[in-house]
């Protein structure tokens, strides 16, 4: 293993490590545009030039492997002059768009200019005019004048997605990114093009002109889009700054996790967040009066729910109750649900496996056919197979053997259609607990508003059996509550139930009681998650 010196610090790295990567290990950041740790190297932007002792010229640190006893300097006047010069070159034909550019605030070029140059322009001639607002596909827009021709987007499509659709056209300072004739970018990974673009050349239609990047707060989360459990960051505002009424969540960006999603997110998951602030969010408890719902308070709604369940259990026994939870609930939500129905009310008919739950369209890269983030968790918690199947419950509701049905985030009508609709409309007591209005919700007698994944703390177990944590970024909208909290409040009314004050307390119990979770704590999960079980078959 070669040992080298970078800026007077020694470091030993694996054979084949580049200077840039070795410097990174020492915490020395070397600026670059074309280099990306997950893409092939092209040596094109020349921003990463450093001085190597005894080398006649500056060398590109992104592509040159270290040698034993190499002596590297990353901050000499020669290097600084080169950086200034490269930035000047990039900027001569760059538009002064920062005030209206979506990338501003998180733009590599802007940051480097501020850090390494801050010099006035010497350019007196006309800038090259290139295409602006180019529609590259359904989800992205290209501004060629902002492009620094790093080629990352081209390499991403080719190397990660495996599609040849983007290329660099023309030559010299007329070089422009574009799609090959007759091609559009249609793949499910377009958001990553926006992420890998170091500047504002590629912007997401979903985010364009909506919010300045520096007004956004960030929290680590897990994408709820499918059972892959991609690590993500949610970007949100606590107040609405710019007139888009009611929008708090603005985007999801990927968070690196080599074992799960590398450093990518798929578009289905990335742009699937809009339900959080959508107008069909359930924000207050409600009770059916005739054909309509009447808004109520939690006290009334919970009283109605508790007494309804109690009556059914007392009169007809626990087998007259059915519970269908959704695998988009957290482990904590599901555990709290299980304690309530299985332990307190002795209900056996609990099944999250609605037919067709895992029949979405997946792909080879990240997206799974099962569009639920916690299916494996629901399995590990035993929320299926203890009583009737979800489908059988529908039949029994129809025949009247099941009188009370509790839908915890689930939407049977979506998966079973008419048959479910018919059954649900016959239920004596239908409780719907969830985040958004739905076809099943429409038939409910009581609506209990739940919190979305960014409004509560908890954990998901992805398809590989990896336990990962989500964090509360925002308060639940309106009067909505985290699902575990709803069960806790109900539990209190129905018997002996722990008075959980936070998700972590639920987790502690779960970690004691449920085998795969034994011995775990939030702290032990860590930012990259922890494998607790095998993947399901």
């Amino acid at each position: 293993m070669p040992t080298l010196t970078i800026d007077d610090q020694q470091v030993t790295v694996d054979q084949g490590t580049t200077i840039l990567e070795a410097a990174k290990k020492l915490g020395i950041a070397i600026p670059h545009f074309c280099y990306h740790p997950r893409l092939t190297k092209v040596d094109a932007c020349r921003m990463c030039l450093v001085e190597v002792k005894d080398a006649p010229k500056l060398v590109t640190s992104c592509s040159n492997a270290v040698r034993d006893n190499m002596v590297v300097f990353t901050g000499t006047p020669k290097v600084e002059e080169a950086r200034k010069s490269i930035l000047e070159f990039i900027l001569i034909n760059h538009p002064l768009d920062c005030p209206i550019c979506d990338k501003a605030g998180e733009c590599t070029l802007q940051d480097y200019y501020f850090r390494y140059s801050s010099q006035p322009s010497r350019f007196k001639d006309n800038k090259v005019e290139k295409h602006k607002v180019v529609d590259l596909g359904a989800k992205m827009v290209l501004d060629s004048e902002r492009c620094v021709v790093c080629g990352r987007c081209v390499r991403f499509c080719r190397e990660v997605v495996g599609e040849e659709n983007l290329g660099i056209f023309n030559r010299g300072d007329h070089s422009e990114i574009g799609t090959y004739p007759g091609k559009k970018i249609e793949h499910n990974y377009q958001g990553n093009l926006v992420d890998v673009c170091p500047v504002g050349a590629l912007t997401a239609k979903d985010f364009r002109f909506k919010c300045r990047s520096w007004l956004l707060c960030k929290a680590d989360t897990i994408c709820p889009g499918c059972s892959n459990g991609c690590n993500a960051v949610v970007h949100f505002t606590l107040r609405s700054f710019n007139g888009i009424k009611g929008q708090r969540v603005f985007r999801l960006t990927p968070r690196e996790n080599n074992d799960v999603n590398k450093i990518w997110l798929c578009d289905v998951g990335r742009w699937g967040y809009s339900f959080v602030d959508s107008i069909d969010r359930l924000t207050t408890p409600a009770l059916k009066k005739g054909e309509d719902f009447v808004k109520g308070d939690w006290d009334t709604a919970l009283r109605e729910t508790a007494s309804g369940l109690k009556t059914v259990v007392e009169r007809y026994g626990p087998s007259a109750v059915g519970v269908i939870p959704s695998p988009h609930l957290t482990n904590e939500d599901l555990y709290a649900l299980k304690c309530l129905f299985s332990c307190v009310l002795k209900v056996a008919n609990i099944d999250f496996k609605l037919p067709g739950l895992d029949k979405g369209e997946g792909d080879k890269l990240l997206l799974k056919a099962d569009r639920h983030p916690n299916t494996r968790g629901a399995e590990l918690l035993g929320l299926s197979g203890t009583g009737l199947s979800a489908e059988a419950m529908m039949e029994k509701v129809k025949t009247g053997e099941i009188r009370a049905l509790y839908l915890a985030g689930s939407d049977p009508v979506k998966y079973i259609g008419e048959k479910a609709e018919e059954a649900l409309s016959r239920a004596e007591l239908l409780i719907f607990q969830g985040t958004n209005f739905s076809a099943s919700c429409k038939l409910a007698h009581v609506i209990l508003p739940g919190a979305t994944f960014v409004e509560k703390e908890g954990t998901f177990t992805n398809y590989q059996g990896r336990l990962q944590k989500i964090n509360k970024a925002l308060e639940p909208l309106g009067e909505a509550l985290a699902d575990w909290e709803i069960f806790t409040r109900l539990g209190k009314r129905l018997g002996a139930y722990p008075s959980y004050r936070c998700a972590e307390e639920v987790f502690k119990d779960m970690a004691r009681e449920v085998a795969p979770f034994n011995g775990l704590s939030y702290q032990k999960i860590g930012p990259q998650g922890i494998k607790i079980a095998d993947s399901s078959q």
Binding site: C45, R46, P56, F89, K124, D125, R171, G172, D173, H174
Partner: protein, 419 residues
């Protein structure tokens, strides 16, 4: 005057046909190489010949061949560079048009020496006649059993094809050429890996210029030492073709010993300056070579000697400019060429060449400012040594040398405007 070697067939009738080529001793070297010599011996002779790459970089040919690994998981290739895109350079074309079998014979010997079974020649698209003549020669060689399977009953196999370029200077740069050969956009590759290890279709690849390859049969036939001795005394390295253009009485391609003084080329061989005017400037080695002033032309035309005075040998193309030449216009033409031909892959060349072209165009229009010349110098210094391929440096050569060596002329333009 000694017997011409490389150009011996330039004015011979039908020398491009196999019969005439053989009559003149053609393919004797092939027989010698394949039946009497071991591959290593051939490489040794080429080493001894002092033959340096005639494409511009001047890398010793024998040494380049020796970098090719003996065993490789992928097929090995020979690629002959016939893109000839450097302004002023037109020496490969007469070889291909008048002596195409020399290229074919050189290619077969090279492939035998290095253990290659597939050779391709990448020809500049505009060279229609060269392409026809090469294809003709290749067909004749196949028919005669010099190409194909079991060549001269030695068990050695070789296929050879002609690939027509589509017109980009950068496709003459060896890795840009490989990309283009593979059907991709012609842009240089990152190095390392060098083509000798990872080249065409990922296989180890020898890339040589047409003139380099055409010299091989002569070296094999008469020995490396003989070829080396053809160079100027104390310099060696054989003979070379010098294409001379510009304001001389007899522009043309001259075969001369390596190390012939530039003055002799201009005044003796090319007949001196047209109209007996005074010499103003000479570009000694193709458009990329820094310009020389009249007092510098006693330099021997050879790699080290030209480098010593801050210029370069390049392809050996001599461009002569007389006293009436407008150097601002000349530099504008050159800068527009580089801006147009920059492939755009790396930042300094992509942006810097365009910027220099814009400034010089503005100066030419009489709208220059006093800071412009310093800006050009600093742009050139910002490109120099920092680009992915040598094209960036190639643009720097003329820019820096014109503006510094003939600064007064540029300043006059800025002060009083055009002419």
């Amino acid at each position: 005057m000694p017997e011409p070697i490389l150009s011996r067939n330039f004015s011979k009738k039908n020398a491009h046909t196999l019969g005439v080529y053989i009559q003149g001793g053609g393919y004797e070297a092939l027989k010698k190489a394949l039946t009497e010599m071991k591959p290593e011996q051939i490489i040794q002779e080429v080493d001894k010949s002092g033959l340096k790459g005639r494409g511009g970089a001047g890398f010793p040919v024998g040494k380049k061949w020796s970098f090719i690994p003996k065993e490789a998981p992928k097929p090995k290739y020979l690629v002959i560079n016939a893109d000839e895109g450097e302004p002023g350079t037109y020496k490969d074309r007469p070889i291909m048009e008048c002596d195409p079998h020399a290229v074919v014979e050189g290619a077969i010997i090279t492939c035998f020496a290095v253990g290659i079974h597939w050779a391709g020649i990448y020809v500049r698209g505009e060279y229609v006649k060269s392409i026809e003549r090469l294809e003709g020669a290749i067909n004749e060689a196949y028919a005669k059993g010099y190409l194909g399977k079991n060549i001269l009953e030695t068990g050695f196999d070789l296929d050879m094809v002609v690939h027509r370029g589509a017109g980009a200077y950068i496709c003459g740069e060896e890795t840009g050429l490989l990309e283009s050969f593979e059907g991709k956009k012609g842009q240089p590759r990152m190095k390392p890996p060098f083509p000798a290890i990872v080249g065409l279709f990922q296989g180890p690849t020898v890339i040589n210029n047409v003139e380099s390859i055409a010299a091989i049969p002569h070296i094999v036939k008469n020995g490396g030492e003989w070829f080396n001795g053809l160079g100027a005394p104390g310099i060696g390295g054989g003979v070379k073709l010098f294409p001379v253009s510009g304001h001389v009485k007899k522009p043309g391609v001259y075969e001369l010993p390596m190390g012939t003084p530039l003055r002799e080329i201009i005044y003796k061989h090319a007949g001196g300056i047209r109209g007996d005017k005074k010499l103003k400037a000479v570009i000694p080695g193709g458009a990329s070579a820094p310009v020389l002033k009249p007092e510098e032309i006693d330099v021997p035309m050879e790699y080290a000697n030209l480098a010593k005075i801050g210029s370069m040998m390049g392809s050996g193309a001599v461009i002569v400019m007389d006293e009436d030449t407008d150097l601002v216009k000349t530099l504008r033409v050159l800068m527009c060429f580089y801006a147009h031909e920059s492939c755009g892959k790396c930042t300094p060349c992509r942006e810097g060449t365009g910027w220099m072209a814009k400034i010089i165009k503005r100066i030419e229009k009489g709208e220059g400012e006093s800071a412009d010349l310093d800006t050009i110098v600093s742009i050139a210094n910002g490109i120099r040594g920092r680009t992915l391929c040598p094209l960036g440096d190639a643009a720097v050569g003329p820019a820096l040398s014109f503006v510094t060596k003939f600064r007064q002329e540029f300043e006059d333009y800025i002060k009083v405007g055009a002419g």
